[in-house]
Symmetry: C2
Subunit: 593 residues, 2 copies
């Protein structure tokens, strides 16, 4: 069935979890109000459903191909991209001075979910371009900004991120691409980069590569990496395009999923060296890269929400249509739609609840991004920036993990048909599997959470966050609503487990870092369950306040999450605080024997 | 890296979880002893590694194809199948009177793991043939047995199971294929069957289809289904092959995985009707089918173990080789093999522990199968048959669920390379996804466990089983070994959770069946964790008794499982007994709105 943007679910999460009303009231959104946001999301929904989604399945079958040294995207791709950029969709959150619309991050995040749900392979192109824009905007010289940003913001040119090399994936400190200084202030770049998304294509006249490389006299490790702009075509003073730069796509990967998204091997400097311009300072490239990586990590988390939503919509549609077996309520000889079976209901509720919880986590992270950028008060901005730092690994890893899980349940709901490619559930399952890997594997996210984010402000950032979660639990308890079931009890246990695990990890980090790291992944999962459960509970509290029968769904989802999914919390805590010794008991040799 | 049959792990599970020594001592295995079993498994391992495994990746790429109405398997397939049947591998558990080797089911199960780990698409062919042999042996007339079994047992002919129709998957009661009686005692079969594994191929001279169909005067529903033998080529009195029967492969499915295994649309009776012979009694076909389905369900569970083992071997090999980042123990500037990172260690330990736990569950089920068939005492046989009935849905569903989970972790350990098809991890992930679906979806397994297996003997079967699990926990506690960590505590909680959830479901089945069914899937998972955890603990107890340092791995795995995976048990119990209301709160309309 065709994709329909979940506008109501997004708006509900924005209002109840991300506190949209208070953002508007405080003037943080620079005059953008709820009606505007809904209108933009509705329009995005139409564009996604009408233009992007119909290309998703054909794009998967055709794939992008390398023909005579050029990447050819699937039929319709170029035209859709043109419509996308002409519609101004690439420019939503960008500054007006470069042609953007300066819309809040919450809107860009909501729209990002829609592009990626409609067509994950397509959505990657603007996602990476946005990352490149962020880096240039943050650290590029005025000239670089003037030269590139207007074209990138409008989407006339796309952008790429060139980090990975064959031997340098998670560990960028060892990358080997090299840069030579030239007398005119430019640089020459040499080296091979792999896994470069949309590293080449013919959809736009130019492509702006951001490339990490090392100067000859750079210190070793991560403190010796510089960032360069390397355009596919050089840009003349008047803005027209000049010569082809010395960069080529040397190959495309043959992947499990996202077949339409070209994953390129890029060769820089096969001839005289690719001409590049420094972004920011020499040897400080990784700092700039982290700016764009944080935003990109949230965006990848949103891709997890997107695939989960797409899988859920498909599964529900199939479950309403497919008839098999009978239930206690079945009448006569007729088979029941499988949505009436209790086990299928559990599957569909799990899909919906995980999706909405991850959506809320991502939108809250976007909200804090807005506050960190736009609030008038510097203290408020700083606090929000810390909140963004804390939540980003959870938004990325929890959302992409559940994206894969929900996609897998989606196949299961379809039974045998789910394994047949024509049904469509399998493509979601294949596509989704990249999400826990790129932009920092989810293992890296967990390590980042434990080693960099928990210690922020001496632990005060996480403590303050958990205290807020607890406050919601108290509200749920105080509300004393029978329709909440055991929500307060279960969420109370969940948040208490998170608090205890956080304290334990804080202590272990000092004494035995490997023990803290051994528990990092289950700790992140626990964090996601607590945050997601509480955000759904806020939705339920709001629904009860509004008292409308039509809003029963937020209550049911929140209660289901608390009573069926957050129940894992206490076990995860036990794993974190009691599992490290046995996790590390076997040395590498004994483990592999 | 190349597959190596895990002979030691299999033997360890056979001896410690499946109690091989006592089986041998009691004479249940008809003189087959441990040395013989190990020798057979080692030979199977060589055959799997040398003949089957090299065909797996090429087979995935080529796939089976339908050419001019005939199914063409990938290059090398036919030759490998010939070697397989000439080696007597298809005949391991079959009766000697038809040319089999009459080896115990535990041996056939261990060998089955090896075929499927080496090449899942290949392994399906003998798996289905064995199911057809079981059905014919149990219910076929003497003439049918004489005509077909010798050829099938030797593997000269293969067998298929034809159950599913487009509208009749989980619910076989509504199937429409029809059978007409003929004066000569034969039948004519008409209808379309889908998802028929190896429904056609050119590897053997003949294919023996077992087909469910309905007679004109059959009662509606499952009590009106009959089972027929329909050979591809009719068999003359002298055993030579006669005319082509009226059955054709009309199409192949385009699937997510197991590309080399042809999944056929079979058309019966497009001309005058396919000639068939009744197996067992008219309208009792489903009973016969259940005989073969139970065995096939265990065999599919073993496929879950197989993919998990294959994924684990690949991930460990990669993690030893791939260097990235540094650990506390790293020296100098050199990057550490990723197996030294704590988060990777958690992943690899999870893979190993889940695999070995599922293996033990499957081998115990095989052991009980042997007792149910071979023990001298009728009471012992009956008790074992009940144990097989109880454990089969767990062996099938838990093992195939963890098969998919372990395959997914396998991709994750590879990082970006895991998403690239050439690496091989992705094929395992794609192939594995069918396992929770076919031979009864895992949702159906959970329903079977709750509604048919828990009530066996008024609940005494499950109670007796749980009492045995508890006995092992008591042994672990009494052993008081420091290297067991909190194994006794965690497993004690796990088994207690299983006992409580079992009681609750037993009660709910009477009062509110939908509530029991809503918890069926998490209940099955809980059951698997308790059983698997206890079987690993038995392995640890044995390792301690033998006191050998080399056997530390069983201790580490058992402790890891208890402290890191079985910790989910209490939460699962809460979900089972407290989650049904919210699972069922939203009616189908509200859920899909």
């Amino acid at each position: 069935m065709a994709y329909q943007a979940p506008v109501d679910d997004i708006m509900h999460a924005l209002k109840t979890a991300a506190g949209l009303d208070s953002l508007v009231a405080q003037g943080v959104l620079d005059g953008v109000d709820e009606d505007t946001i809904r209108a933009v999301i509705e329009e995005a929904g139409k564009f996604g459903a009408e233009v992007l989604e119909p290309l998703s399945t054909p794009g998967d079958r055709t794939g992008s191909k390398l023909v005579d040294g050029k990447v050819v995207t699937p039929p319709g791709w170029k035209e859709a991209y043109k419509q996308f950029s002409e519609g101004g969709w690439g420019a939503l959150p960008c500054p007006t001075e470069f042609g953007g619309q300066n819309l809040p991050q919450v809107v860009a995040t909501a729209a990002g979910e829609i592009w990626n749900a409609a067509n994950l392979s397509f959505g990657l192109c603007p996602l990476l371009t946005q990352g490149a824009i962020d880096a240039l905007e943050a650290q590029g010289s005025e000239e670089l900004k003037r030269t590139y940003l207007p074209k990138m913001v409008t989407g006339e040119w796309t952008g790429t991120m060139n980090l990975t090399e064959p031997h340098a994936g998670s560990d960028l400190g060892v990358l080997k691409a090299r840069a030579e200084r030239k007398a005119d202030g430019t640089y020459r770049i040499f080296g091979t980069k792999i896994f470069i998304t949309y590293g080449d294509h013919e959809m736009t006249d130019n492509i702006v590569h951001l490339v990490l490389a090392r100067l000859p006299d750079a210190p070793p490790g991560t403190r010796g990496i510089s960032l360069f702009v390397v355009p596919k075509y050089l840009v003349n003073k008047d803005g027209s395009l000049g010569a082809r730069n010395d960069v080529v796509c040397a190959g495309l990967e043959h992947k499990l999923g996202i077949h339409a998204s070209p994953t390129c091997v890029m060769k820089y400097g096969e001839k005289d060296g690719a001409i590049g311009w420094l972004v920011g300072e020499e040897n400080r490239g990784l700092n700039v890269m982290f700016i764009m990586m944080n935003a990109a990590r949230l965006a990848v988390g949103v891709q997890g929400v997107a695939v989960a939503e797409r899988a859920t919509q498909r599964a529900i549609a199939y479950a309403k249509e497919r008839r098999q077996g009978r239930t206690a309520a079945s009448k006569g000889a007729e088979m029941a739609p499988i949505i009436e079976h209790a086990d299928i209901r559990r599957n569909l509720m799990t899909m919906r609840a995980l999706t909405q919880a991850a959506r809320a986590i991502c939108l809250v992270t976007a909200r804090e991004t807005d506050v960190s950028r736009r609030a008038k008060d510097a203290g408020q901005r700083a606090a929000a920036a810390n909140r963004v730092a804390l939540l980003t690994p959870i938004a990325k890893a929890f959302s992409t993990d559940i994206g894969c899980e929900v996609a897998s349940i989606g196949i299961q709901v379809h039974g045998g048909m789910g394994f047949i490619e024509e049904t469509g559930a399998a493509q979601i399952y294949r596509d989704a599997r990249i999400l826990p890997i790129y932009e920092g594997t989810n293992g890296i996210q967990a390590i980042d959470l434990v080693t960099r984010k928990l210690p922020l402000e001496g632990g005060k950032v996480v403590e303050g966050y958990i205290a807020e979660l607890k406050q919601t639990v108290d509200e749920v308890r105080a509300s004393n609503r029978p329709e909440f079931g055991r929500m307060a009890e279960r969420l109370g246990e969940t948040v208490a487990a998170l608090a205890e695990a956080s304290r334990w990890i804080g202590g272990a980090l000092m004494k035995n870092p490997d023990a803290a790291l051994a528990g990092a992944a289950p700790y992140l999962r626990l964090f996601g369950l607590a945050a997601g459960g509480v955000y759904l509970a806020r939705g339920a509290l709001a629904a009860v306040r509004n008292g409308s029968g039509a809003q029963m769904q937020p209550i049911a989802l929140a209660r289901f999450f608390a009573e069926n999914l957050a129940t894992a919390a206490t076990g995860l805590k036990e794993t974190v605080i009691g599992g490290a010794d046995s996790t590390l008991a076997l040395g590498p040799d004994a483990l592999s024997a």
